[in-house]
């Protein structure tokens, strides 16, 4: 077998893949923001003293963690359109699907990190006259975020990899670009290896960024 990476330079293949990569990055980034937001809300909600809020959050977690992402995407994109006439664009369905799915995992990271903070911190804040939420946002979360970073790096990397499933709901991201090209020229190995490298580079970037962020936060205070 001979490999022919020259194929990248033919038929606009490389620009097509780069375009796909850009879509992947954009979708992942938007989904990541959504997932952080959902994760924070569900994570905080799951610790609520109001039973109905915490059970609602537990249900969210159970559902989105307990069903395959691919099925969720199908439901969002095809399911909603055909049975409820809610016609989301593929990109919107993709970002929502990825974000809601990953948000479930982020909520567990948020909850775990918050619960790992000594309860004396909340007591100190409350004894100074701060409210529960003031203490949460000024005292607990800034400390918890440092502890969230390593597991968040894992989650964001998983999110990037999972974004390849969006190809199935017609989003023109990296995986779909590759599929389109190989359907034409059968250069499976060259093309898929190329996008594997692309995914790898993106994920490597994420882990480096998070490590930098960790270091920056650590310099500004806590070493514990």
């Amino acid at each position: 077998m001979t490999l022919d990476f020259g194929i990248l330079l033919q038929d606009e293949n490389l620009p097509l893949l780069l375009q796909g990569l850009w879509v992947t990055i954009r979708m992942t980034f938007l989904a990541l923001i959504l997932s952080c937001f959902i994760g924070l809300v569900i994570g905080l909600g799951s610790m609520s003293k109001y039973k109905w809020i915490s059970s609602l959050c537990a249900t969210y977690l159970a559902w989105f963690r307990g069903t395959p992402l691919l099925v969720q995407l199908m439901l969002l994109y095809y399911g909603l359109a055909i049975s409820l006439n809610i016609d989301l664009t593929a990109s919107l369905a993709g970002v929502l699907g990825l974000g809601m799915y990953s948000g479930a995992y982020v909520s567990e990271i948020v909850r775990g990190a918050i619960q790992s903070i000594d309860r004396g911190q909340m007591e100190a804040g409350r004894s100074l006259g701060l409210s529960h939420w003031q203490t949460m946002f000024k005292v607990i979360l800034p400390q918890a975020i440092r502890r969230m970073l390593p597991p968040l790096a894992n989650e964001f990397i998983a999110l990037t990899k999972n974004s390849s499933l969006l190809s199935v709901i017609t989003v023109a991201e990296l995986m779909r670009a590759a599929n389109t090209i190989v359907a034409d020229n059968y250069k499976y190995f060259e093309i898929y290896l190329t996008i594997a490298v692309f995914y790898f580079v993106v994920n490597y970037g994420i882990s480096v960024l998070i490590r930098l962020l960790e270091r920056k936060l650590n310099v500004e205070g806590v070493r514990s």
Binding site: G120, A124, L128, G129, L130, V139, G221, V222, S224
Partner: protein
Amino acid sequence: MIEITNLDKYYGSHHVLKDINLTIGQGEVVVIIGPSGSGKSTLLRCMNYLEPIQSGQISIENQPIGMIEQNGKHKEMPENQLNKMREKVGMVFQNFNLFPHLSVRENITLSPLTLGKMNKKTANETASTLLAKVGLSDRADAYPDQLSGGQKQRVAIARALAMKPHVMLFDEPTSALDPELIGEVLDAMKELAREGMTMVVVTHEMGFAKDMADRVVVMDQGQIIEVDKPDVIFQNPSQERTKTFLHKVLTHT
């Protein structure tokens, strides 16, 4: 100043405070002593409602804290009302509970700034004044991890004072400290007592109790068994259990 009437507190079915009645006057220094597990910390933590109570009432400056009567029913007060009450009550913990992600100055200014009690300039000036008072002027920009235990506890005292509390509660403020660091914290507390601060102190430092307390409260098994002036408690206690306890503590330290 602080009035506790018929206070009962349970952890599940465990009755940890039994019919506590105690009145603490303005400017008084009250030291609570008693064996481990007798309920000293719990009683102190009820005074700013860090622990919910099951019956009875606690009021600070004639206003109830935590529980209120409404339409003849006993219920928990709204959070904002509770927060307001807590501003009057400073608390110092055994293990400091400083905010590790904030500098010493920020630890002190966080609450006044967040609650809009002071602008940034006044808050920083207040922090400087308080740090000078506890002898830590040069450590304003340090982080808690860079301080010794004694320094941490003095910062914690300054942090509590920044809210201009009317009462200060201390829960074994020197128990987590190396022996040579205890003195500096006790000195800061003595200074505060001399200025007329109302103080409730749970401690095993009998020297502090003898020198500084106006009254000593002795607790055992969730009850107050004796309250009196320190010389009475230490020289001529009326309760056998007080004698036993003091004998143990004084021969062990």
